[in-house]
């Protein structure tokens, strides 16, 4: 049992240990952004209705606005800050930038975390699988098409294929 007031706990985020004191009724989203200063994860609706707050817990994408932080103690948390390998962007980050799959960018961290989990499970997802998988991440800017194309291109590059974006994607048809 934990009393109201602050609790001390250790989180594993992007492979690093973070010890922090926080109010025990805080969500993981609030602890990440406010106590660990990891503001890459965005807050949108805070009710499960948009996907902006998506992070991975033990490799599974979940909504950090509906996880009580205490439930994430001792688990491996991965946020968008943990996607790049040092200065090298993750292929998804590269293709999202190249294809214009991020416009205002608010949905992007959540979309990336959902898509990354998909590509670890399915090396060659169909367009339909990608759509289904991203059905919990709203985007108000892109109309989704460039997001789907960017995921497909990243999947191809992760398979080692020398894939390039289609000309129509970059220049229009």
């Amino acid at each position: 049992m934990t009393d109201p007031g602050k609790v001390l706990a250790t989180f594993f985020v992007n492979g690093e240990r973070h010890e922090c004191a926080f109010a025990p009724h805080k969500t993981l989203l609030e602890v990440l952004r406010e106590d660990l200063q990891l503001t890459g994860t965005k807050h949108g609706c805070e009710l499960g209705e948009c996907g902006a707050c998506t992070v991975q817990i033990d490799g599974v994408p979940v909504l950090s606005c509906l996880v009580v932080a205490l439930e994430a103690v001792g688990k491996q948390i991965r946020t968008v800050e943990g996607l790049a390998d040092g200065p090298t962007l993750h292929p998804l980050q590269e293709t999202f930038a190249d294809l214009g799959a991020a416009q205002c960018g608010y949905c992007t961290p959540g979309v990336l975390m959902t898509a990354e989990a998909l590509l670890r499970r399915d090396r060659c997802p169909s367009r339909d699988t990608i759509k289904q998988c991203l059905a919990g991440n709203l985007c108000r800017c892109t109309g989704y098409l460039k997001i789907f194309e960017a995921v497909e291109l990243a999947a191809a590059r992760l398979r080692g294929e020398p894939a390039e974006p289609r000309k129509e994607t970059i220049h229009g048809s």
């Binding site: 049992m1 934990t2 009393d3 109201p4 109010a23 025990p24 009724h25 805080k26 969500t27 609030e30 807050h43 805070e46 009710l47 499960g48 209705e49 996907g51 998506t54 599974v60 994408p61 979940v62 909504l63 509906l66 996880v67 009580v68 205490l70 439930e71 959902t114 289904q132 998988c133 059905a135 919990g136 991440n137």
Partner: protein, 325 residues
């Protein structure tokens, strides 16, 4: 920001300990499974427990067991995404798996549990709003107020049964296990629910749902058809669960439940009667479907037009019956 109110968080390791903590704190305490229903409600101050009893550490609630008779027993804490991915369930319970796959979004299904889905709070346009919104028009009787905004003359609340699995699970006559301070008991799923938007469950608040038992496959065909605005996120505003028992081509028994059409999954009794002893021909399906308009007691407290929702009930029932062929 929409923050959770302060509460004390408990993480018991066994079902018995969870029940004890709940009993110690009475109405001040609530169980939480995946939290995808409770936490949004707490953020909007629709539910305001000061003690939250997490079921996350209780290993005994996490298993999926195939019984000797071929039926399946699921622990209350089994995730919706585990059900979707389970080969045996996919093969033998396609209607149940389909209902699960229609719930919310993939991200929420990685968090939400089957137990939480069976016990989902009833929903209403005037209730599923922030505290400030509800305060601005004055609270309704489901929380903090005295009047019903949907039916102001009504003595009762008409909040809507909105779980996707409940109509199927009731049609299948699955059973559930409950554990309370007085010990364990089992119920046919249909007996778990009441026709009231506030007291929508027959179980006592301290009773913990531990398992769901699906009947052995064979001899029956089930289906689920859902109506909602978007193909994702949205709760059902109509959800038809059907289960038909057959002897050869003849229907010997029929259960048809209408979700999203009242405060519980309403049996379409006339439809059921019109099916028994018949074969599932196009004519029988159309006639049985038409009888489903009357029991659909839609009110103007969900998405989509209230009259239209009632008018399409026959269409959706017919589709559900067709899917049983």
């Amino acid at each position: 920001m929409l923050r959770l109110p302060t509460f004390t968080f408990h993480r018991p390791k066994t079902a018995a300990e969870a029940v004890r903590i709940k009993c110690d704190h009475g109405n001040e305490a609530m169980y939480v499974a995946g939290g995808t229903d409770l936490y949004p409600n707490m953020k909007r101050r629709q539910q305001t427990p000061t003690h939250v009893v997490s079921l996350g550490e209780i290993g005994e609630l996490r298993s999926i067991d195939v019984r000797k008779d071929g039926g399946v027993s699921l622990g209350a804490m089994v995730l919706l995404s585990q059900i979707e991915a389970h080969p045996y369930l996919r093969q033998h319970y396609p209607a149940f798996v389909h209902a699960v796959a229609e719930i919310s979004t993939p991200l929420l299904r990685n968090m939400g549990t089957i137990g939480g889905n069976l016990l989902l709070d009833t929903r209403c346009t005037y209730y599923d709003q922030t505290h400030e919104w509800r305060e601005s028009i004055d609270f309704c009787m489901k929380k903090d107020g005295a009047i019903c905004w949907v039916a102001p003359g009504s003595p009762r609340c008409w909040a809507v049964q909105s779980s996707d699995t409940v109509p199927v699970v009731c049609a299948l006559e699955a059973t559930v296990d409950l554990v309370g301070p007085q010990g364990a008991r089992s119920l046919v799923a249909g007996e778990l629910y009441r026709d009231d938007g506030i007291q929508y469950l027959t179980k006592k608040p301290e009773e913990l749902l531990t398992r769901l038992h699906l009947p052995a496959p064979g001899g029956w065909q089930a289906s689920y058809v859902k109506l909602r605005r978007r193909g994702t996120f949205d709760f059902p505003v109509l959800g038809v669960g059907a289960c038909l028992w057959m002897s050869g081509k003849t229907i010997t028994k029929a259960n048809v439940r209408l979700g999203g059409a009242g405060s519980y999954a309403i049996p379409a009794a006339e439809t059921e009667k019109a099916l028994v002893g018949r074969e599932l021909t196009d004519e029988v399906i159309a006639a049985a479907g038409a009888l489903a308009m009357k029991p659909a007691r839609t009110m103007d407290n969900t998405d989509l037009d209230v009259y239209w929702r009632r008018k399409v009930a026959p269409v959706y029932v017919a589709r559900a019956l067709q899917a049983c062929r």
